[in-house]
């Protein structure tokens, strides 16, 4: 299945590896931060609401 990359195999494979890794890291970082901030905001809003009721 693997295509014959010849003498440039290293260059081609490493650029795919590096690029895909960078993209995956960026996506994971964005998603985890999005989740964390969303959760934190919800807790702050909840606290604010409870304080308002008191």
């Amino acid at each position: 299945m693997m295509p014959e990359l010849g003498k440039y195999a290293e260059a081609v494979l490493s650029s795919y590896a590096v690029s895909i890794m960078l993209i995956v890291v960026l996506v994971i970082a964005s998603v985890t931060r999005a989740r964390r901030v969303k959760r934190e905001l919800e807790s702050v809003e909840k606290r604010g609401r409870e304080n308002a009721e008191v």
Binding site: L5, Y16, L26, N51
Partner: protein
Amino acid sequence: MASIWQYANPRKFIETTDRILPWVAGSSLMALVVGLVWGFFFTPDDYRQGSTVKIIYLHVPSALMAINGWIMMLVASLIWIVRRHHVSALAARAAAPVGATMTVIALVTGAIWGQPMWGTWWAWDPRLTSFLILFLFYLGYMALWAAIENDDTAADLTSVLCLVGSVFAVLSRYAVNFWNQGLHQGASLSLDKEENVADVFYHPLLLCIAGFVLLFVALVFLRTQTEIRARRMRALLARERLG
């Protein structure tokens, strides 16, 4: 017809992007997978460059998005300066790390590609150099956002920096061209000059570009949502402290 500015409302923005984000992300993933698999497994080697031509599917789209990312930030900054929509400023902030990552991908793939083609990892070729400078601009822009506590102040300052930086980035591009004529091939892709890139490479490349564009949009939507929430949280916390 409703005005486009209604999406400048933070809540409306989050609602709308929540609805379309899965579609954008999904189609981005699909375009990337199909494009890259097509390009990697099912295209022939170039008669001159051998298999390294496969790097084009990463190099060209990331380079395009590196520049388009900055242009998007510039437009968002202008919208903030003129109309003062908070979402716009936050979108510019959200786009910067994505654009910077694209610049890094373009630089790294360029260097890896350059090694077998030019016999050196790094050549002070005008285009590579311009991208290095662009990367520095991204770094400075992000550092300025991070350094300032007040969100509105940060938005104002980074907008002006983005504006001034854009002028100097264009200036640098010309200066660098003047300084070194370079090894890069001419524009390898434009719609009316298809002969530069043979058809076999062209179609998967288009798909990859579409994938990168959609990926950029999806990430900017997601990160802008995050910035909006983070900002609201900071505002709520500031109010709590105030009592």
